[in-house]
Symmetry: C2
Amino acid sequence: MDANQNAGDGLRQVIGFILELDKLKGVTRKTRPLGLTRYENSAEHSWQIALLAASLAHLAPAPVDVDRVIRMLLVHDIGEIDTGDTLVYVEGGWKERKAAELAAVTRIFGMLPDAQGAAYLALWQEFERGESPEARFANAVDRAMPVLLNLANEGQSWRENGISHARVVGRIAAPILEGCPALWAYLEAKLEEARQKGWFGA
Amino acid sequence: MDANQNAGDGLRQVIGFILELDKLKGVTRKTRPLGLTRYENSAEHSWQIALLAASLAHLAPAPVDVDRVIRMLLVHDIGEIDTGDTLVYVEGGWKERKAAELAAVTRIFGMLPDAQGAAYLALWQEFERGESPEARFANAVDRAMPVLLNLANEGQSWRENGISHARVVGRIAAPILEGCPALWAYLEAKLEEARQKGWFGA
């Protein structure tokens, strides 16, 4: 088999796609990894939440296909390659950002052979719609991870960005309660402790 | 449900495990992400190869359970939390490093409830043994990724570390040919082009 023949298998398209994904390593979030001074990026975040989901799937309120959850989480932030990450607590402009992310993933998944690109796009859209048990669970895990880091980090990104306890709870309580109630019960108590310790920014 | 009750579901153990995993974001490899000056870390690398595997599974020489491949790749580098990353071209000491990594993953997966920890350890060991079709394919993808980055990066880590074309081919040809022959056919031709361009370090 020679290299030209491989082109017919979509190999070159896959490689172009994977090298494009490298850019997600340069998209920074507002949270710092524990013990590091730099900001976390969306690629390593995606890895971590895939493993959080795999480890918490038994606590989902409905049976979930954990492998589809993992795939969803691995692709859910890819649109940020074009748009950058936006703090979940930012208000306004959400609809415009989501449209820009859809344009981005349409471009990036469009680098793949049609069937593959369509499958990734369907996963991305399932996560965004948040309607299936898998998508609800995946959204809960995605929302919970920066909270877990902040709880281990004396509220680093809340303090740096002036985010109040009420704003955190208002933004994450519903999706986490819906997608993983046991996780919300845990976080709710910990967030109250954090509030008493003064770990919020406003 | 209160927070104490959750402890019985292993939630606190899972959270301890996930926060421990944060350390993999600080384990640096020898490759630099495209367009960035810093080194790549093993967490973002694990994310990228999970998606490379998902995108190339149709080229595996035997049918593979791609979801098990993805899980294997998500956990395969976790031992580096205690040992650090070692360039695949370093010679000697391999057996000792693998023993140290096994001790590390035994410690880290041991933070989880027994059944969960055992399942992750089994995945890690399957990858290390490299005997199943899934493990062979996963190993091929893991070996290929830094080569793909170097081919897009004018041989950055080969030049920085004095790695010759012969050493790269000698180390990766067999596992990639075995685990994903079409990928090896592609890389073999590209590596020869890179040699002619002087992208190797020795």
